[in-house]
Structure formats: C-alpha cells, structure tokens
Symmetry: C2
Subunit: 251 residues, 2 copies
DNA sequence: CCCTATTATTTGTAATACAAATCAAGCCGA
DNA sequence: TCGGCTTGATTTGTATTACAAATAATAGGG
C-alpha cells in the first residue's frame, strides 16, 4: 500500500514526512480515509506506538482528524497549519508553485513593512547591534566573492529579516520568523539573481537598516516595501490588491 | 507537586490545560525542568503513556523541549505557538493584558484591512452570499433587542471577519480565522459597549460589506481599518507605529 | 417498518520491558 | 595534572500486549 524508497530508513521522521507529502501532493485526497493503525504498522514494519505518534503529529499539523471507530480521514488545505515551519517546508516543493508562492509573498508584503516600521520605534540596542551584524555578514559575503559569481550569504539575509520581526516588539509578528526562513529558501532556489540584482538587494537592505537605526518608522516601512517589491519583481511575479503607502503618499 | 482542583476530572485535556496555564502564567519558569515522565505519571495518577501524549502536545505547541537524559525543559514565550487556537485561548486570560492584547490588535490592524482589500477583488459568489448572511444575523440581533440593552450576535461578528479572510484567496491569511475568534472573545469580554457604539459598529460592518460587494478594494481596506480603529478606541487603547493609508491619502 | 440490543471495529489508555542517547563519574595512562 | 576512554546511571524513545471506550453496522423483536 505505502512504501518509502529503499534508500530511506524507516524512522519516525521519514515516515511522517512521507505521509505528509502524500497528502500535500494530493496522492491521498481530502476526505479519504487512511488504513487503521494496525494496518499501517504492519505496512511500514514499525510498532503501533510509533504509528500513533506519527498520526498524532499529523493531527496537530491539521492534516488528519481521528475518531474512535471512524478512523483517520484526511483534511483539506484550509485545515493545514501552513505557518508551521515543517509544513511550510514540505509544501514549498510540492504545492504547485504559483498560488502558494504568491500567497507567501503577499503575506510578507503585508507583514514585513509594518514590522520594519514598528522596529524603528521599538528596537532596543541589542536588536540594532544584531541587525547591523547580520547586514555586515551580507555585505562581506558579497565583497568576498569575485566578480564572476556574486554570492550572498542567505543565512545572514534570513536572520536580518527575522531580527526585524523580533525587534517589532509584537508577540505575533515575531512568530513569522520561521515562516520567512522557508520562504526565502524557496525564493532563493528559484531566482539565481544576476550580479546587479544582488548588489541592489544589498543596498536596499542597507537603507532599511539605516532607517531603523535613525528611528524613522515611515522610511523603514517604505524601504522594506521596496526590498520585497524587488524580490517579487526578480521572481517574475506580481502581486495585486495589497494596499501600500508609497513615496508619493508620504504623510 | 502538581495538583488540579478537586472538581476537575483527571483526563488528558484537563491535565494538558493545567500544565499549559502553569507555564503561561509563569508558575513554571523558562528553562526550568519538569519532573521526568514517571514522576509525572505518579503525581497525576495516570499512565506514562498518557503523560507522554500530553508532553508531546505541549512540545508541538512550543511550550517545552525534550531530550534523552536531559529531560523536559520549559521554553520562553518566543517559542510558543501563539497563533494556535488553543494556546491563544489559554493565553488570553492569563498573560498580563496590555502587551498581549495590544499585540493582537496590532496584528488585526495589519492583516484585516489588507484581507478586505483582497476580498473585494477575489471573493466569489459564495463568499459574498455568506458574508451578507453573517451581516444579516448581526443586524437582526441588534434590531431584536429592546432599547435598553443592545445585543450583538458575537458569533455572527466573528464569522463575518473569518469569511473575509477566507475570501481573500490567500492561503495564509485564511489561517488567522481561528486567531481572530479568540481575540474577539477576549475583546468582547472587556468592552461592554454602549448602545451607540454597537449601532456604529453595525453600520461600520455594513460599509465594509458594501465595499466588498461593489469590488472596491481600496474602500474595503479603508472601511475595515475604520472598524478596527473603533474597536481599539472603545477598548481605551491606542496603537502606534502601524502605517495605514488614510482617507486623505487615497490614491 | 421502526426501535432496540448486540456485535464488531477502531481509536484510546495502561502496563511492562527493553533500546538508545547522553551526562557524569571514575579510571587509566601519558 | 590533564586528557581521553570506559563504565554506569538516568531519561526519553520504541515495542508489545492487553483491555477500555466509543461508535457504526448488524441482527432481532415488536
């Protein structure tokens, strides 16, 4: 019934990911029932304890629902806990790009400029120090590269954005850090930027940093919006319907 | 060591909530270690199986981390999965109001106007029908009440907001529906609105509905922002640092 | 034909045993 | 004395078995 590729060991993590991907990819359709726990344990050759553990995790991520004597039924995408880091990671590769990636970029475009604005008002000295540190790492990685292939330290990039969200002082916005990590990973995978774009991107990040350091919230907002717009443009996508304050409308 | 009030039966759900609240309220501090599984099972008088089940749930919600031979240590608030509906529900009562509630309202102010804008562009006929239905229920509940005490159907209110988020067509924004439910619950608990405010609120909701129905995204954005601003004002709070397009800046 | 009781199936809980990981202490040798 | 290795103890992780509880399906009686 179910079987993992031979080279993959049958541990909890792998079986979990295998089943999750089957659901995400639609191999197991919504409302369909999974075999009962004993059948699954025999199928995978693991104990029922482990099967239950895996099912419990799938349940907590919103993939399935369980009831006594009903069994396990698969839930639709609207029940999935997409903001969960693992779920997001699995989904990135699987879900047919456009809608998913676009939703993610829209979310960033909504959240991150506001996060930058709040950070400009609320960041403490540690936040500012850390932010500058991450920027330095990005800058050094670009300088260190030779002219031919420009390399940007993606980890530093991710941490830069995460730090801003933490510095926003908003308990909920801080939570999106993990979400962004997966997003950037996927983004970077798709867009192998040209030299010029990388340099532009670095410059754009620097402008955000400086706006926050100088406590100018509106400028931080606008510049972060610019960073994201560039990313979206580089990916050859476009977002419609997000209302952004722009340069002309500055108060 | 740990003990629930006598009147509460010792089932999984109750022990889970009990431990979660201890952590949220700070009775068990961050980085502190919990007793091992056997000790806990003896303490509560349940099997180790159940204790493990509970701990696994706490882990999935970000409250604790577990390692072999290290034991279970409690994590800080930044690890908590605040967007989880249950976590949010427990937190509402426990966390010292101001920071938590303010974060929640900021999040709504960031997300919901944009959701309304997107909904104006993307809502399908079913969405519109459902939205109008929820509005009708709100209106009827107000009309049905006598002059003395005006009653607003909160469930309809919640569903109204959830429907807009679903109609936004954004996979991630849809996820905030559950978050908003808990938020409104808490909000309503605090603010026993005057008659006038209730009528104003109904009117404000109607204006959002009409903007979405007429596919005017910017108007939907502005009017939703108004709804939320009113709520925040009625609670006697104020948000700073959120950048909103306002009437004067209409493009 | 409808209502009720029984049965069967599936998830939920318990108890026990052992495996695996990891920290700490002790030992040994250089 | 220091560093690395071995050994043991502790704690979580996995497996097995048995039984409880919930509920759908079936059979039986009026």
């Amino acid at each position: 019934m179910f079987s993992l590729p031979d080279e993959i060991p049958l541990n909890k993590k792998n079986i979990l990911e295998y089943l999750a991907r089957l659901i995400i990819e639609g191999k197991i359709k919504t409302e369909e029932a999974l075999p009962n726990e004993i059948a699954l344990s025999e199928n995978f050759g693991v104990s029922r304890t482990m099967v239950r553990d895996i099912l419990k995790t799938l349940e907590s991520k919103g993939f399935i629902a369980r009831k006594t004597n009903i069994g396990t039924r698969v839930m639709g995408i609207h029940s999935w806990n997409l903001l969960d880091e693992e779920v997001l990671g699995w989904s990135c590769g699987a879900l047919t790009q456009s809608r998913f990636l676009l939703s993610l970029l829209e979310l960033r475009l909504i959240i991150e400029p506001q996060a930058a604005s709040l950070a400009a008002l609320r960041a403490n000295d540690d936040n500012l120090l850390e932010l500058r540190h991450h920027y330095q790492r990005m800058a050094e990685s670009v300088e260190g590269a030779n002219g031919a292939e420009v390399f940007m330290d993606n980890e530093a990039d991710i941490e830069f954005h995460k730090t801003i969200m933490r510095a926003s002082g908003n308990l909920f916005i801080s939570q999106f850090g993990g979400t962004i990590r997966a997003a950037l990973y996927h983004t970077i995978y798709q867009s192998n930027r040209a030299t010029k774009n990388t340099l532009n991107s670095l410059e754009a990040h620097r402008s955000v940093l400086e706006a926050i350091e100088s406590r100018n919230s509106q400028q931080a907002y606008l510049r972060m919006a610019k960073v994201l717009s560039n990313t979206i443009r580089d990916l050859g996508l476009q977002t419609t319907g997000i209302i952004l304050l722009d340069q002309q409308n500055q108060q």
